[in-house]
């Protein structure tokens, strides 16, 4: 009598042995969602989605959707930089976008992504903060940049950075006049070129993120949420429009060789160029 063999439907197998299920695909050079190992998901960018914000944008990378709004407020400058405004980026990952996030204070992931984006914006000198000065020592513009994830399907860093850059490009701030301790902003119902100004961005860094799998020694581009959960580490590479690197991060997983990093940089160059074309088209 033949011994009964265990057979699973693919979905059951995926739930019981997610890593093994995934490996069966990657050894053939594809992933469960049909993409090749180095393919990025379809991306769309929409500008000016929030009419009440000074600048806004929405970016979709596959299933991950991030909406970013920029609000400009007047504040007193920091004591050690009296002629500079400041940028306050924040990435929000709430239960609204995925059940893996719990309500309450920002999770470690949200804080780490916010900090990573803050460093890219600050260290690659995207914006000259002196441009945000209204009256030295008295009043400056502070830009609250809030990137809210409305649907989470992995790769929040790329989506959030793209949304933030698109929103900053979209910002219009009314020209202020400073008079004896008060700020007057020009009236009129619509912001036009005469009564408002846009931000002069020195560069637009955009990024490409890859997931590292130790057991199969593969590096996949643009992981979705299932791939992210079973991955061992991540590589993120940010570049500006001139091809200069603005940030490289490799975190988690075993040691990664230089040649693998070089391949990622090449792939990131192509991807960021593609992203730029998408951003400039719409």
């Amino acid at each position: 009598m033949a011994t009964p063999a265990f057979t699973f439907t693919p979905s059951t197998f995926q739930k019981l042995h997610p890593a093994e299920f995934f490996r069966r695909f990657t050894t053939e050079g594809v992933r469960p969602d049909g993409r090749l190992l180095d393919a990025f998901r379809p991306t769309t960018v929409h500008h000016g989605v929030i009419s009440t914000a000074n600048g806004s944008a929405m970016v979709r990378i596959g299933g991950t959707t991030v909406v970013c709004g920029v609000k400009a407020e007047v504040a007193e400058p920091k004591l050690d930089a009296p002629d500079q405004g400041y940028l306050v980026p924040n990435v929000e990952l709430s239960p609204m976008c995925s059940s893996k996030f719990r309500p309450g204070p920002p999770s470690e992931q949200a804080q780490a992504v916010s900090e990573a984006i803050n460093r890219v914006l600050k260290e690659s000198k995207v914006l000259d903060l002196k441009d945000l000065c209204i009256e030295e020592g008295k009043a400056v513009w502070v830009l609250y940049v809030d990137a809210v994830c409305v649907a989470y399907d992995g790769n929040i860093f790329d989506a959030a950075l793209a949304a933030i850059m698109a929103a900053l490009n979209n910002v219009r701030i009314r020209k202020p006049t400073y008079q004896e301790g008060t700020i007057k902003v020009s009236g009129g119902s619509t912001a036009t070129d005469e009564n408002s100004f846009t931000l002069k961005l020195a560069r637009t860094p955009l990024s490409a993120t890859f997931a590292i799998f130790d057991t199969t020694l593969t590096i996949l581009a643009d992981p979705n949420v299932t791939e992210e959960t079973i991955s061992d580490g991540q590589i993120s590479i940010a570049l500006d429009e001139t091809g200069q690197l603005c940030g490289v991060t490799k975190i988690g997983a075993a040691s990664c060789s230089q040649s693998a990093m070089k391949d990622c940089v090449q792939s990131a160059k192509k991807r960021t160029q593609q992203l730029r074309n998408i951003m400039n088209q719409q």
Binding site: Q109, A112, E123, Q244, L245, T249, S255, Q258, S259, M261
Partner: protein, 236 residues
């Protein structure tokens, strides 16, 4: 430039601290207190059935922990996960607390180095040790400076922190006369910010890799000295 170097480290809270001379030729004012508790009991919701749960807490010099510290926590934890033989202690927790005592640049690299010494001291089984070093590309001279102070960091065009383990082999091209190009390095953790070219990035990786060999040597010597001292105390 040859100045004396001191990296003060400390391990498990009941052990005495020790300070050692560092082999890197830079004045490094960063010192750090780091303690490890584990393997110990872990909250049910954090319990992993087949591995130990690693928890890292980073406390800054002043003030409450902020997002920078959370980012460092994630960096240290994610880097240590593949190194700690957590399968040997399932359903337990290993807590690592990193407290900054003095901040004079290269904080993350110092945190990594202190953490690995603390783990060694606590006797947590590890696959390999790691060594970390930070370097910058100076904005004026375009020189690559290792282990920058806070002042040097302020003048940096780009800042790079690398962590290497002591297992990845060096495949050197013996035909090449220029030793600088010979090493193929494998990075455990890499974090670079600022504006830099691909060549600068890989050159920094090479330079940091060579510097990290000194860090590995220092860790070995530090552990040896500590064991010798303990042996003396037992036998005296």
């Amino acid at each position: 430039m040859s100045r004396l170097d001191r990296t003060r480290t400390s391990a498990h809270q009941l052990r005495p601290f020790f300070s050692s001379q560092n082999l890197l030729n830079r004045a490094d004012g960063s010192a750090q207190f780091d303690f490890v508790v584990g393997p110990a009991e872990v909250k049910l919701r954090d319990e992993k059935l087949d591995k130990a749960t690693l928890e890292v807490v980073v406390r800054p010099l002043v003030g409450l922990p902020g997002i920078k510290d959370k980012a460092r926590e994630q960096a240290i934890r994610e880097t240590l996960e593949p190194l700690v033989l957590s399968g040997l202690h399932p359903r337990t927790g290993i807590q690592i607390v990193v407290q900054t005592m003095k901040d004079d640049g290269s904080i993350l690299a110092t945190a990594f180095n202190a953490t690995i010494l603390a783990l060694l001291d606590a006797g947590i089984p590890l696959k390999s040790i790691l060594g970390a070093v930070t370097c910058i590309v100076d904005s004026e001279t375009n020189q690559i400076l290792l282990d920058p102070t806070s002042q040097e960091l302020a003048n940096a065009k780009s800042t790079h922190t690398f962590v290497f383990d002591n297992k990845s082999s060096i495949t050197s091209n013996t035909e090449s006369k220029d030793q600088e190009d010979a090493v193929e390095v494998a990075t455990l953790y890499s974090d670079s910010t600022g504006l830099f070219s691909e060549e600068e990035y890989f050159k920094c990786a090479q330079i940091c890799y060579k510097a990290v060999q000194a860090v590995h040597g220092f860790i070995r010597t530090a552990v040896q000295k500590k064991l010798e001292k303990e042996q003396q105390q037992i036998h005296s």
